[in-house]
Structures are given as structure tokens and as C-alpha cells.
């Protein structure tokens, strides 16, 4: 304790010394001010400028008539309408500017700036305001009661916000569950044999809303040399076909780029890339992020092939699809 107080004292002393040592920089000096009087007034009496303004006004009127004419007779052509009304306004602008610069008197005036601060007024206002509380003896009680009342009413006013929601529950749900068939965007079920190596397919769930955030899937077929799923997911990829949520776990865009090696020895692995912020995921490694801002891997959906050869989900997503948030269920960590 003693040592602590001595240390504190030392710190205070050091701060005082530093302050004393550091010279307060002075504000920069004001500029020298000249006594030059810039006031002047010129009356142009410019007949040619007046004529020019009149011509411009008439031309602007002509363009205005043109607008109505285009609207009525030329099927409201967007370009011609734009030229007509834009031209009319520009000509009118030219008329106003020419008038403002060459027709009316040109004046350079000087206006004094009064002071903003008036000490006397400040004092008076404070006095008048305080005089309003004259003779009140139970000031604290009144302030306290007012505070209680204000807090209660503010809470009451904020309460209806609860009727807006929030409805957090749906955040962990997707339409996918065991047995749901994968359809294409025309509503036809995918056969396992439809899925070709090197292309990607968008799949939607059978019998549910395709507009749901978690509806869209990316489906690709990978040859064995590119397929290195984590141990627990070995049987999620029948015939090398894997499915992932189409929604990027970074910022919710639909992933729409698929990079597939054209010459295996020099190319990189197959990868999905999101076109919004270019997060890149490896479908062969359980959706691992290899580039870009996504903070977690792409959620994978286990697949199976039924007796008719159709692709079906073999279960739910094991983590949340879509962007991360405080309560997101993550697969790793």
C-alpha cells in the first residue's frame, strides 16, 4: 500500500514536471489586415446583354414546347425528352447567369459581422431562467419525481417496439432435411448422373419456398484426387457429388463462380468464389476458406442417391448458413 502510494506520488510529480517542461504552443498570429476598401457599384446598361437574355429565354421556351411535343407526338422518347427539358433548363440557367453578370448592377458590398457573444445577454438569460425557479424549496424532490415519470414514459413509448419482433428463431432453420430431393430452377429433380465434372449446379429444395435464404445449394462432382473431406464427412459425397449452401457465410451473397482446373498439373484446386467480396472456398475440403474475408467455411449438406438415382439430402446442415452473428452455430472451434 505504502509502495503504491509512493508510486502514485512519483507519477503525479513526473506529470507536473512534464507539463512544466513542455512549452504551451502559442496559437498562430492573426493575419495583418489592410485598410483597403473594396466597395464598388457598376451599372452596366448593357443593351446587347439584355437582348441576349431575351433570346435565351425565348429559346428556353422553345425547348419547353419541345418537351410537350416529344411527349405527345414522339411516344415520349426518353433521350429527346431529356434533351428538351435539360436544354430548356440549361438555356434558362444561361439567361439567369448572363442577367446576373451583365444586365443588373454589379456590386461588391461590405457587411460588418457583429459579435456573436454578448456577455450581458448571456447573464440576463441565465438570470431570467433562474428566476423561474424562485421560491421552490423542494427542488430535489421535483427533479426526482420528474425523472421517475420520464423514465416510465420512455419505457412505455419504447415497449411497442417489441411488437416488431425480433424473431430470432428462424435463423437456425433451412428447408433442408433428410430425404428432401434436389430440384433445378425449373422444378425438375436432379439425377446423380446429371452432375458433370467441371460444372456447378444450383439446386433448390422440393416442396418448399425457393426464396428462403437457406434454400439454394451448390452441387458439383469432384474426381477422387480432389476429394479430401474431413473424416466425419466421408459418406456425405455419393459418387463424388458434394453439396454446399449457396449463401456465402461472409455477407450473404449467392456464390456464383466455380474455378475448375483446366490443366491439373499447374492449376489450383477446384474452388467456389463469391462475386461480392471474393471469398474462396474449397469444395473438396469441406468448404475450407482459402482466400478472402469469410471467417468460416462454407456449410456442407450431406447427400445421398435414392433408388431411382435422384439426389436427396441425407440430413440437415450441421452448422448455420448465411452470415455469422453472435449466436451463429459454427462447425469448427
Amino acid at each position: 500500500m505504502n509502495r503504491l502510494s509512493r508510486l502514485l506520488g512519483l507519477l503525479v510529480a513526473a506529470r507536473a514536471t512534464m507539463r512544466a517542461a513542455r512549452q504551451r504552443p502559442q496559437p498562430p498570429p492573426s493575419r495583418p489586415e489592410s485598410d483597403f476598401d473594396p466597395r464598388r457599384r457598376v451599372v452596366p446598361s448593357n443593351r446587347r446583354a439584355e437582348t441576349a437574355v431575351a433570346v435565351l429565354l425565348l429559346l428556353a421556351g422553345l425547348f419547353g414546347v419541345g418537351f410537350t411535343a416529344v411527349y405527345v407526338a414522339l411516344d415520349a422518347n426518353t433521350q429527346l425528352l431529356g434533351i428538351a427539358i435539360g436544354g430548356a433548363l440549361c438555356l434558362l440557367a444561361a439567361a439567369a447567369i448572363v442577367a446576373g453578370k451583365l444586365v443588373v448592377p454589379q456590386e461588391t458590398a461590405v457587411e460588418e459581422r457583429g459579435p456573436l457573444l454578448d456577455e450581458h445577454r448571456v447573464e440576463t438569460v441565465v438570470e431570467v431562467a433562474e428566476a423561474g425557479g424562485e421560491g421552490i424549496s423542494r427542488r430535489r424532490l421535483l427533479i426526482g419525481a420528474g425523472g421517475v415519470c420520464g423514465a416510465a414514459l420512455a419505457t412505455a413509448a419504447a415497449t411497442p417496439l417489441a411488437s416488431l419482433g425480433p424473431t430470432l428463431s428462424g435463423l437456425h432453420e433451412t428447408p433442408w432435411a433428410r430425404g428432401i430431393r434436389l430440384l433445378d430452377d425449373q422444378g425438375r429433380p436432379y439425377l446423380a448422373g446429371d452432375i458433370q465434372v467441371g460444372a456447378f449446379y444450383t439446386a433448390l429444395p422440393e416442396h418448399s419456398d425457393p426464396e428462403a435464404f437457406g434454400a439454394g445449394l451448390l452441387v458439383v462432382r469432384l474426381p477422387a484426387n480432389f476429394l479430401h473431406l474431413p473424416g466425419a464427412r466421408r459418406d456425405w459425397a455419393p459418387d463424388g457429388i458434394v453439396a454446399y449452401s449457396k449463401i456465402c457465410p461472409h455477407a450473404g451473397c449467392a456464390i456464383s463462380l466455380y474455378r475448375y482446373p483446366t490443366y491439373a498439373p499447374t492449376s489450383q484446386q477446384p474452388a467456389f468464389t463469391c462475386p461480392c467480396h471474393y471469398s474462396t472456398f474449397l469444395p473438396g475440403e469441406g468448404g475450407r476458406v482459402v482466400f478472402g474475408p469469410a471467417g468460416r467455411s462454407l456449410p456442407q449438406l450431406p447427400l445421398m442417391v435414392d433408388s431411382q438415382g435422384h439426389l436427396r439430402a441425407a440430413g440437415r446442415f450441421h452448422e448455420d448458413i448465411g452470415p455469422s452473428w453472435w449466436g451463429v452455430h459454427r462447425a469448427e472451434s
Binding site: Q26, Q79, A96, G100, K101, V104, G252, S333
Partner: protein, 496 residues
């Protein structure tokens, strides 16, 4: 005065008298008519923003007459052949119909879109003028804060506006906005499901809510803030650049009536005319090409409007850090680029007047502006900060650079992750040294006056005039001869 002129004069006088008898406003009107505006081109930037806002309101009213904020899915059977039979939201169909079948509908929609781009550009340029000339110092801090608030609201307003269309591009933007809202620590999930009425893409109430925000709440807030901004300017008077006869305690310039009013109306009309020409002739946001939004679709090479570019750049540049503690995702990645970065940028700008006051210990009232070079430190800090934001903005287009020039996207990102910290330092050093050398040479970088003023005293001695500004002020006659060429009233000395 001939007969007609006398009659007009009498009517005019009568109208003024009738008004004053009832309202007693002639004093205020006289004051407003004699209000002096300093002449400098950079003072027009704020006016351009104001006039773009007027165009936005005018064209926006037209658009609200046709827009339907409906999320329910319909089959398109309209006049545009390429989308026949497509499933789309009612909202998208209404904008499609507005653009293809309503006469002048496309014109108004494109003018509205262009006006939003120009509005925010003008605000940003105006903000730069205010910052680099020190106009945000006492007594104008409050107006500077109001301006910054308006810039934030304008960006939100623009984003809300193009999101209403529910085309593929705006749907992707909303998905990103939802993700950024979700990423707010602790409350993100609750907040975004509250706004969207449930998990993305949200309930049927979302688009009507967004429409009310776009056509009522933010425009009303902007209108109130614009009124406050102008009222405070009128109370404090415009600041002005130093020059002959210009002092801290006066304003030198053109009075409102008649010359300035005419010129300013001219600017309003020119802004409106330019925007209508753009809207008629230069295609912007051709939504029929993007197609309707569905969560499982996206397009490649998508670019937002320019004022969102810095946010997409920040989201792209950020490494994939996420703070996860005990299975809780405390800070999801989009928070860094989508929320923390813009908050930091605006936070620094809001704090600037206090920072500068702390460094300079200058608490005086300033009505004369600084030339940027005369405050090398402020100018250099501002330029470095600006370059920091501009780099992030530029990163938003790295995919287009890859597409056009073939420079690898990953290489670009890796380079910029270093460049973002190195380049602002270089910009700081370069700007400071340019400011100092300009101070020494006294040259104007654009209107280059490179010479020296030499004078001879009556006794024959020749000397070099050190301060050309003061010299010209002395040399100029106080009362110029009547009948000089009009328009020469705003001559500035060469060194300014």
C-alpha cells in the same frame, strides 16, 4: 420615369406596404436582400448539393406515384420481352413498368438516380473545401457536425433508394447490409431480424418499411438539417478567403439582390438542366438487365453506386479475422469493413475540430479561411486521411481491374493490404513538403504567378515587394472609375 414605370412602381410599393402592415417583415426582407455572399467558386459546391436535393425531391415525388413496395412473387406479363414469364417481386415489376411503359418514367427515374450520385459527390467536395480551408473551426463547428450528419444520412438514403427496386443488384446489396447488421456484436441478430421482420430476405413488411425510410423519414430529417445548416450560415455569415479589404470582422462580396440571386438561380437551373440531360442521355442502373432478385442468384462483376464503393472496398480488403470466444462469434468479419471502418472515418471527422483545438490551443473565432498551404500539418493530415479512404474506395474496383487489365485479384489485394498503410504516410510527407515549398514561393499551383513585384521609390531605389497581396491593395484606387467593364468586380490578387 415614364407612365408605365411609375404605375409599376406604385403597385410594387403598395404590395410591400400591404405585406408590412400585416406581417412587419420588411426589415428582415431588407436584411436578406443585402446579405453579402463572398465570391469564390468553391462556395458553390454546397449550393450544388442543395439544388441536387431539390431535384431529388421533385423527381422522387413522381416516382412514388408508381412504386409498389410489394414483396410477393408475381409472374411478369408486361411489355419487356426478355423478362416475359419470369418470377419477380411486385416491387421490381412496378419499377420495370415505370421504366418501360410510363411516359417519361425512365427519364425521371434516371434523373433521380443521377441526382443522388451528384448530391453526395457535391457534399463530399464541399466537406473537403470546409476541412482544408479550416472552415470547421470556431464558430462553425456545429454547422460542420450538421453537414457530416447529412452526409451519413445521404449515403443511407441513396442505399435505401436503390435497394427499393429489388432487382438482382439491389438484392445483393441488401444481403450484404443484412450481414453487416447481423455482425454487430451482441445485438446484431436481434437488430437485423427486427429491421427485416425475420431472417433474410425478411417479411412482407420490410419493403414498405424501407420505402417509408426512403421517402419520409430520411428526407424529412435532411430537410430539417438543411434548414438548420442555412439558418446557422445566415446567422454567422459566410466565411471568406483573405484578400484586399477582407477582414475577420467583415464580409466582402456580392449582395443577394439582384446579382447574386440571379446567378444562384442560374446555378439551380444549370444543375437541374445538367441532371436532366444526364438522365435523358446517359443510361444509369438499367434494372431490366439485372433481372429480379432471388436469394440463390447473384451476378458477377457487380458494382454499387459510387458512394457505397468505399464500404465494398473495406469488406474486400479485410483479412478473414473473426473474433470467436468459447463458441460465440463475438465479432463477425463484416463488422470490420461494413461498420467499424465507416464509424471510424466519421468518428475522426467529427472529432477533428476538438483535435485541432487541442493541438493549436486556438480558441479564437475565425471568419477568414486558411489557404491549405498555410496550415501544412492540417493539410497533410487531411490529404493522408483522404488517401486512406480513397485507397479503400479503389479496392472496391479490383475485380474490374482484374477483368480489364488481367492483374490478378489476389495479388492486388495483397499489395493493397500493405499499401493502405504505406501510401498515406507518403502522401502526408509529400503534401507537407509541397505546402511548405508553396508557402516559400508564394505561387498558386493553378493560376501560376511566378514573378516578383518590383517597385521604385521616389528617390530612385528599386526594391522587391515581399507581399504582393498588400501591395496590390495599396496600389488599387479606393474608388474605381464608374463604367469599368462589368464582371471585373471580383478581381483577386495574383498570389491568391
Amino acid at each position: 420615369m415614364n407612365l408605365i414605370e411609375r404605375r409599376v412602381h406604385r403597385r410594387f410599393e403598395r404590395a410591400a406596404r400591404v405585406t408590412d402592415e400585416r406581417l412587419g417583415v420588411m426589415g428582415a426582407i431588407k436584411w436578406a436582400m443585402r446579405y453579402v455572399f463572398p465570391d469564390h467558386w468553391s462556395f458553390l459546391l454546397g449550393e450544388i448539393a442543395l439544388y441536387s436535393f431539390i431535384v431529388l425531391v421533385a423527381t422522387g415525388i413522381f416516382l412514388t406515384l408508381y412504386y409498389v413496395p410489394g414483396a410477393s412473387q408475381v409472374i411478369y406479363r408486361g411489355s419487356y420481352p426478355l423478362l416475359q414469364g419470369e418470377q419477380m417481386s411486385e416491387a421490381y415489376r412496378s419499377v420495370l413498368n415505370l421504366s418501360t411503359t410510363v411516359p417519361a418514367g425512365l427519364l425521371f427515374r434516371q434523373v433521380h438516380h443521377w441526382a443522388a450520385d451528384v448530391f453526395i459527390a457535391a457534399i463530399v467536395l464541399h466537406l473537403m473545401r470546409v476541412f482544408f480551408t479550416g472552415a470547421c473551426r470556431k464558430p462553425r463547428e456545429l454547422n460542420y457536425f450538421i453537414g457530416l450528419t447529412m452526409l451519413m444520412l445521404a449515403i443511407l438514403e441513396g442505399f435505401a433508394g436503390y435497394s427499393l427496386v429489388d432487382d438482382l443488384l439491389s438484392g445483393m446489396g441488401l444481403a450484404i447490409a443484412y450481414s453487416v447488421a447481423m455482425s454487430i456484436p451482441l445485438v446484431g441478430g436481434q437488430l437485423s431480424t427486427l429491421i427485416w421482420g425475420g431472417p433474410f430476405p425478411g417479411s412482407d413488411s420490410f419493403l414498405p418499411r424501407l420505402e417509408i425510410v426512403h421517402v419520409l423519414l430520411i428526407p424529412a430529417a435532411l430537410a430539417v438539417l438543411i434548414s438548420m445548416h442555412l439558418a446557422i450560415i445566415m446567422r454567422q455569415h459566410h466565411s471568406q478567403f483573405p484578400g484586399p479589404g477582407r477582414r475577420e470582422r467583415n464580409v466582402v462580396g456580392t449582395p443577394m439582390w439582384p446579382a447574386y440571386a440571379l446567378r444562384s438561380i442560374g446555378l439551380l437551373l444549370a444543375v437541374a438542366g445538367g441532371l436532366f440531360l444526364l438522365g435523358g442521355l446517359v443510361q444509369v442502373n438499367p434494372i431490366w438487365q439485372w433481372g429480379p432478385y432471388h436469394p440463390y442468384l447473384s451476378e458477377n462483376g457487380a458494382q454499387p453506386d459510387w458512394y457505397i464503393g468505399w464500404l465494398i472496398g473495406a469488406l474486400r480488403l479485410m483479412p478473414n479475422w473473426e473474433l470467436v470466444i468459447a463458441g460465440r462469434t463475438v465479432i463477425p468479419n463484416p463488422f470490420w469493413g461494413g461498420a467499424a471502418f465507416p464509424l471510424l472515418v466519421f468518428g475522426v471527422m467529427f472529432a477533428w475540430p476538438a483535435i485541432e483545438r487541442r493541438v493549436t490551443h486556438d480558441v479564437r473565432r475565425h471568419d477568414l479561411l486558411d489557404r491549405p498551404r498555410d496550415r501544412p500539418l492540417r493539410t497533410a493530415i487531411g490529404a493522408a486521411f483522404l488517401s486512406w479512404v480513397v485507397i479503400v474506395f479503389a479496392v472496391g474496383s479490383t475485380d474490374r481491374i482484374f477483368y480489364r487489365l488481367g492483374i490478378s485479384y489476389t495479388t492486388q489485394i495483397h499489395v493493397w493490404r500493405v499499401g493502405i498503410w504505406v501510401i498515406p504516410i507518403l502522401v502526408f510527407l509529400a503534401t507537407r513538403s509541397i505546402c511548405r515549398s508553396l508557402q516559400r514561393s508564394g505561387a498558386h499551383p493553378l493560376r501560376a504567378w511566378q514573378g516578383e513585384v518590383v517597385r521604385r521609390r521616389p528617390d530612385g531605389e528599386v526594391y522587391v515587394v515581399a507581399d504582393a497581396v498588400a501591395d496590390q491593395a495599396q496600389a488599387e484606387p479606393a474608388e474605381p472609375p464608374v463604367g469599368t467593364v462589368p464582371g471585373s468586380g471580383d478581381e483577386r490578387p495574383p498570389a491568391l
